[in-house]
């Protein structure tokens, strides 16, 4: 029995999964996408609330001087507002990602039809 015959024989034995295999996979992918979208919305809301609180607090709170071994670290009054601006920057970045995701979902109008 030569290589070609073994190859042909092995190819004959190709197995197929159940007929509803592809729809099942696509359904799972669809629910996975939905879940990701929900998680992102939750993150977005929490982030926005956190930013507001941080901005509000940063006006009134100054971090006291910290004694670290023999060194003392003093924080400028601008430290907290700058920190809150950095957080806001990351939240906005996430917002852009969510916007992209929403655009992707709009492209996928045909997706539910394919199920």
């Amino acid at each position: 029995m030569n290589e070609r015959q073994i190859s042909k024989a092995v190819k004959i034995g190709v197995k197929s999964p159940s007929s509803d295999f592809t729809p099942k996979i696509m359904e799972k992918i669809y629910s996975l996408n939905q879940r990701t979208s929900k998680e992102n919305k939750w993150f977005f809301r929490t982030g926005i609330y956190a930013c507001w609180i941080l901005l509000f607090l940063s006006i009134f709170i100054n971090i006291p001087e910290i004694q670290f071994f023999n060194y003392s670290i003093g924080f400028s009054p601008a430290f907290m507002p700058i920190l809150s601006l950095i957080v806001i920057f990351f939240v906005l970045k996430k917002c852009y990602q969510i916007r992209d995701l929403i655009r992707q979902n709009l492209k996928n109008k045909s997706f539910t039809q394919s199920l």
């Binding site: 029995m1 073994i6 042909k8 024989a9 004959i12 034995g13 592809t22 669809y30 992707q104």
Partner: protein, 193 residues
């Protein structure tokens, strides 16, 4: 780059850009070979299907990380093999070793030329019985090499076996396959194909 590969890369880019429904094309294209590979390891169709579902979901979730350095098939088969191996080691699979004698013999009418007269479905069953009987590694490599038409280099990338191990296992697999065919169907085995 081949035309097909280029088309496939365009398809993957389109999925990455958000056209999720296109993933269906990839599932349809690779499900049969992937399922055969999964069966080689797990030796049980239900477990293989579960593992394959998990693999496709993993592939979809990780598609953003796919960097086009290898072909999509190699990348996907690696996910399938790893998922099946994890499942194989964690789960107690009752039908792990398939006893060849447990299968009912296929009746071959005396007037027919043996195997040549067999229906395609029967031939398929006969081949799968033999592939289920031989060792998982041997059956996996046979399917990778002849069914998925992967090169030794690609098999090495998927299985992490060294080249000489792949060649030796393939040689043993061919021998086992041939011997099982001969044992079962006698000297007319070449007519199977």
């Amino acid at each position: 780059m081949g035309k097909n590969r280029k088309k496939e890369f365009e398809l993957i880019n389109s999925i990455k850009a958000g056209d999720t429904s296109e993933f269906k094309i990839l599932v349809e294209k690779y499900k049969e070979v992937s399922f055969s590979l999964a069966c080689s390891i797990l030796k049980n169709e239900q477990d293989a299907e579960d593992a394959l579902q998990e693999s496709f979901i993993k592939a979809f979730s990780g598609l953003r990380k796919f960097n086009f350095k290898s072909s999509f098939s190699t990348w996907l088969y690696k996910i399938v093999v790893n998922t099946c191996k994890t499942k194989y080691s964690h789960q107690k699979i009752s039908n792990r070793c398939v006893n060849f004698d447990a299968y009912q013999r296929i009746e071959i009418k005396e007037n027919n030329t043996p195997l040549e007269k067999m229906e395609v479905k029967q031939r398929k069953e006969a081949v799968n019985r033999i592939l289920d009987t031989i060792k998982p590694d041997e059956s996996l490599l046979l399917r990778m090499f002849y069914l998925a038409e992967l090169s030794i280099k690609e098999i090495k990338e998927i299985t992490n076996f060294n080249e000489s191990k792949i060649k030796v296992t393939l040689w043993r697999a061919r021998k086992s396959f041939y011997l099982q065919l001969q044992k079962r169907y006698g000297p007319e085995i070449t007519q199977l194909t």
